[in-house]
Amino acid sequence: MKFVDEFRDADTAHALAAKIAALCEPGRQYKLMEVCGGHTHTIYKHGLEDYLPESVTLVHGPGCPVCVIPMGRVDDAMALASEPDVIMTSFGDMMRVPGSNGSFFDAKAAGTDIRMVYSPLDSLKIARNNPDKRVVFMAIGFETTAPSTAMTIMRAAQENLPNFSVFCNHVTIIPAIKAILDSPDLRLDGFIGPGHVSTVIGCRPYEFIARDYGKPVVTAGFEPLDILQSIYMLLLQLSEGRSEVENQYSRVVPWDGNPTALKVIGETMQLRPYFEWRGLGFISHSALSVREKYAQFDAELLFHVPGVRVADPKACQCGEVLKGVLKPWECKVFGTACTPETPIGTCMVSPEGACAAYYNYGRMNRHRVKEAVTIQVGRP
């Protein structure tokens, strides 16, 4: 489409890059975190780091919904799926995520009835069409997908559907950002705020980052120029000593989000006291469960859920990658034992995962890392 050029124009990109470079104080290092996996994707696809001065580092955040699901939760879902008369339904992204006894794909191949769906509403339809089966929807995702699960639960309630339930694994982005801010491992200077999550929650929930932690936040779109523009806006704030929440993606993100979406989440779900995130550990009030009012649709109440905590494989360093402490290629198994075809960790499974983004665009594989290191070491 003809409109796209305005988001991609190379001259504009170089002009922005020059403005960014001009804002960098000599001797100062800038670490900016892009929270959303979609942004990570754009950054590596278009090689945006090549446009930035060496003093600006982009750190990948935890905003990949598949990546943050801990192994124990995958095992729980597998246990549900293997109960009698159960049809487990799941988004395609979730199918390859490894638990300690393999993935949904492995279980499906072994004969467990696990079906891929595009929407929770498709799962609802499977329940209507299979009244003698118990249909469970594996609900995952941040605030972008939670409203869809909420609407589906309300629809099931309207229809009084007796054989549909939700295994709720929805997580909320704000407590994860707070956990990263409180982590001693990492000092960040600002955040590129997530795009699509913000269409639901708006920009206000980020205000504490600016107010209490003194770090700027700019909610960004997914085009390369959107991201460069957001980096410019962050550096401008830093150079002027400001820390505010700004909205670069106002063409899609309303400041107050989507009130209907927030309302249906509140109607059907409540905050859990705590929830385990892969790599980040237990974070309080960071996930949602089905409200008591809709208990008949809560798979955790209808089935026995083992709830055993399972440690990540020793070789896997997804935790450090999700926190932005390690770059994907710094992980010991990146590109060797762990590839998109045979992922060990979740960051390699999802196209939004930082490792998969690195790998798919060949920005860094083991061989090139070695080259890069050699060149750096060889520098005078």
Partner: protein, 90 residues
């Protein structure tokens, strides 16, 4: 899954006020527009769709940009379109 995909609203389903038929890269499927009750889309308008639900209205330029982003992603978007093609929301 977390990817928002742009679709053009083709028609609102007469008996089901929450449902609309959309066109996503040539694939025509029914989605739910119940999250846009404050400002419901009309045929010809574009929406950003997440897992079968329209989450926000967008203009045509944004739709074009979003589409290019998705087409650039390659396999993940192909998988998403394939999943959408299998979808039968009612």
């Amino acid at each position: 899954m977390c990817l928002g995909i742009p679709g053009e609203v083709i028609e609102l389903l007469p008996d089901q006020p929450d449902l609309a038929r959309v066109d996503v890269s040539g694939v025509r499927r029914v989605i739910n527009i119940g999250l846009l009750t404050d400002d419901p889309p009309v045929p010809g308008e574009w929406v950003l769709i997440h897992v079968g639900f329209a989450l926000s209205k967008i203009d045509e330029a944004e739709a074009g940009a979003a589409l290019q982003f998705l087409e650039g992603i390659g396999q993940a978007y192909a998988d998403e379109l394939e999943a959408l093609a299998e979808s039968r929301i009612e």
